[in-house]
Amino acid sequence: MNSRAFAEIEPISRQQVEETPPDAAVALFVDDVSKCFVRKSLISRKTLQTTHALQNVSLTVGRNEIFGILGGNGSGKSTLIRVMSTLLIPDSGRVKVFGYDIRADESAVKRLINRVSVEASFFKKLSAMENLLYSSRLYGRSGASLRRDIVNILGSMGIEPERINQPLEQLSRGMQQKVAIARAFLTSPVLLLLDEPTTGLDPRSKRDVQDFVRQLRDQHDATILLCSHDMDEAERLCDRIAVLDQGKVVAIDSAQGLKDRVSAELGGVEVTLEDVFIHLTGRALGEDDAEAEVA
């Protein structure tokens, strides 16, 4: 990956962010957040199903930290990301991004964040250039420099210039995911929310994306929140990890801290992060996936 081209792109909202950050040290503050989804009958309004997606979740992410959230399917990871992204209103609790409350200061929060989800989510008939022009303009970017930056950043991610104007539906899933990361990066987020960004990617694309995440933190002072169910990825990238199970945070520590804790509880045996997950949640991630598929 061409890190020079990546570094050349000037973040545009940095100045705005630096002007008045009410709390520059804490990037993300989640306090006692709960979210419950209720499905009711259309006619009788009787409750058919209640899902407690998040239950009293609290965590704090420091500026410039890569913070992992590890959990299986249905553990509440995506719900938590949606709450932080202002796309879901929690039933209770508070979320602050650099001191800005996601409800009271929604507009300020939106300028500081961006998100990459497991699905690339683009206008599939439009090209990477057209999609990125659209999304960047929504964040106030315009002018000739924008097209140049799009070409540069896509080039730095290994996307050849001739593919930039092809409809996205003609690009591989790995390439689409790289375009999704470029979309987020072009808006210079100070807090980037990544929801399983490497799921379904081949090993090389996965490594490219992981390198990119590291560069974003190291060269652009971004804070990253990474939701994943990939143990290796979480261990390799994250400074600290929260384990989320059935909507509850069951542990928060560095990967080594979590392993040391569980190792001590198991009488000093050497453990992997997967062992930690099984010990803390009572199941393996694979079992979760199988349950979700059945559901």
Partner: protein, 282 residues
């Protein structure tokens, strides 16, 4: 734990206004990109518009008699104006459906722009796109019918169509909330609204032939005033000064429905965010 209240509306700074105007251009540009990429659909819709307009105008021709030319023009105005209004209405009301289908809705909703900017961009595109499509439709119809427009008041017709478009924007914004409320059936509900407008607004017949309660409904439909105004300028050649009783009701409907539409949209957006309905699958 008590939650913070949502931000109260306040007057934006000049820098923010400029940023919002530039952001609204994103929607215009994006939609033109989409029109270009889905060119096959555009041709199909245009052919459909031309053939359905011709069918209606031939019904007029088949009636014969001394007023045949006026009848053809009456029906022609109805079908062309309705095609335009339908294009404006559909583009606005389907903005949520389209983004939900593509899977981009969450990205648009989390962008740091006001919902007014979002709507303004979509509405401006809809008007420009509607005018372009209607011009193509008119061009095609002139090949089949030799209509006399010598006494038409073109400036008056333009004023009617522009003010009428604004009155339709508010209705379109209100219809756009339906897919947020009903994730699977919202799109069909927007069809119901447009078909009700078609029924009561006098597109192919004067509203005087309708039952009383339908005539009352016609008086709150912006399409009624657009159609009556267009017929007054093109068929009767009324001067622009004589168009106030069409322009004023349309302006009032626009002035009421646009802010009302925004308020309804914001309320439903908050509801969708509470219940998780923004998500593609609902």
């Amino acid at each position: 734990m008590e939650q913070a209240k949502p931000t109260r509306w306040r007057l934006p700074a000049r820098r923010d206004v400029w940023r919002e105007i530039r952001a609204s251009y994103a929607f215009i540009e994006r939609n033109f990109f989409l029109v270009r990429r889905y060119w096959g659909w555009e041709i199909a819709f245009l052919i459909y518009n031309i053939t359905s307009s011709l069918s209606v105008m031939y019904i007029g021709k088949a009636q014969g008699g001394s007023n045949t030319q006026d009848l053809i023009l009456y029906l022609g105005i109805g079908t062309v104006v309705w095609a335009y209004l339908r294009a404006v209405f559909s583009n606005i009301s389907e903005m949520i459906v389209w983004e939900r289908w593509e899977g981009t809705i969450e990205y648009t909703m989390m962008a740091p722009i006001s919902r007014l900017t979002h709507m303004l961009g979509v509405a401006l595109f809809s008007i420009v796109y509607g005018i372009m499509r209607t011009a193509l439709l008119l061009f095609a119809l002139f090949f089949f019918f030799n209509v006399d427009l010598s006494q038409a008041n073109a400036a008056g017709a333009l004023a009617i169509i522009l003010v009428g478009s604004l009155s339709f924007v508010g209705v379109g914004i209100m219809a756009a909330v339906l897919p947020l409320l009903f994730t699977e059936r919202g799109e069909e509900m927007t069809f119901i609204i447009s078909s009700l407008l078609l029924l009561v607004s006098g597109v192919y017949y004067p509203i005087s032939v309708l039952p009383g309660w339908m005539q009352a409904a016609a008086r709150i439909s912006p399409a009624t005033y657009v159609l009556e105004g267009m017929r007054a300028t093109i068929l009767d050649g009324k001067s622009t000064g004589q168009l106030w009783h069409y322009l004023i009701p349309m302006a009032i409907i626009g002035a009421l429905t646009i802010p009302l539409g925004m308020a309804v949209f914001n309320t439903v957006e908050r509801y969708a965010k509470r219940t998780g309905r923004l998500k593609r699958s609902g």
